[in-house]
Amino acid sequence: MKLVQATKTGIVFRLGQREKHSLVQILKLYPCMPPAHHRLSKSGRLPDAEENQQLLNEALAEQRADNKKQVQTLLADSRRFAITETGTRLSLTRADAEWLLQVLNDIRVGSWVNLGSPEDKPAELTPANARHFLAMEMAGYFQTQLLESLEGGT
């Protein structure tokens, strides 16, 4: 995934065929975070704590549903995901890129949670944990490229 152009309004990447395939497969995993994972408070000492927690869960669930639709729209959008002779040209607005960063981090952190929230990388890859580890690493790769382009192009 190589940065072709970063302006104040948009970012363009070039992806090889394998990279594009990997990105599509990774994005199809969204959402990875378990529902109701986030807590509004650690102490729970908030007024109407249960009600507010419920509202937060609903807001995040709605957000995830919207994001999932948006992922499907992105993958089907031939203007933003344009096939060229050398691969794929991914064109994003800055708002798109910021949103994609959130989506990729959900996949990354969600995969980590599904791995059992380890402090370090798994000592051994098994059929059970390999897919989560791979998703975490791949999402991290695309996330880093995106972050560098957002930081560098301002």
């Binding site: 408070s41 650690k42 981090n105 990354r108 402090e119 370090d120 996330q143």
Partner: protein
Amino acid sequence: MAATATPQIEPGIVQTTEDKPESGLEPGYLVICWNDPVNFMDYVTHVFQAVFRWPRKKAEFHMLQVHEQGRSVLTRESMEKAEHYVHQLQKYTLHATMERDA
């Protein structure tokens, strides 16, 4: 992971030892970001800049506080605003909560 430490005074947050009024004013709520071993440091800095519109230096200060001390108090707000910020930070999958200011 770094251990949780006593919160320190950060730039941009005014701390006071004055007694709070018994009524009339809404109590303050602290928006706290907690350390985890998964989020990239650059990503956390970026999120703080995006959510709070902070300059990079201030965002890095708080990111490092999270990384080294286990948590950082990001801001003190009304309940409604604190909820808004926690929601924004959680949309980015950061480990953020709000706690009533003692």
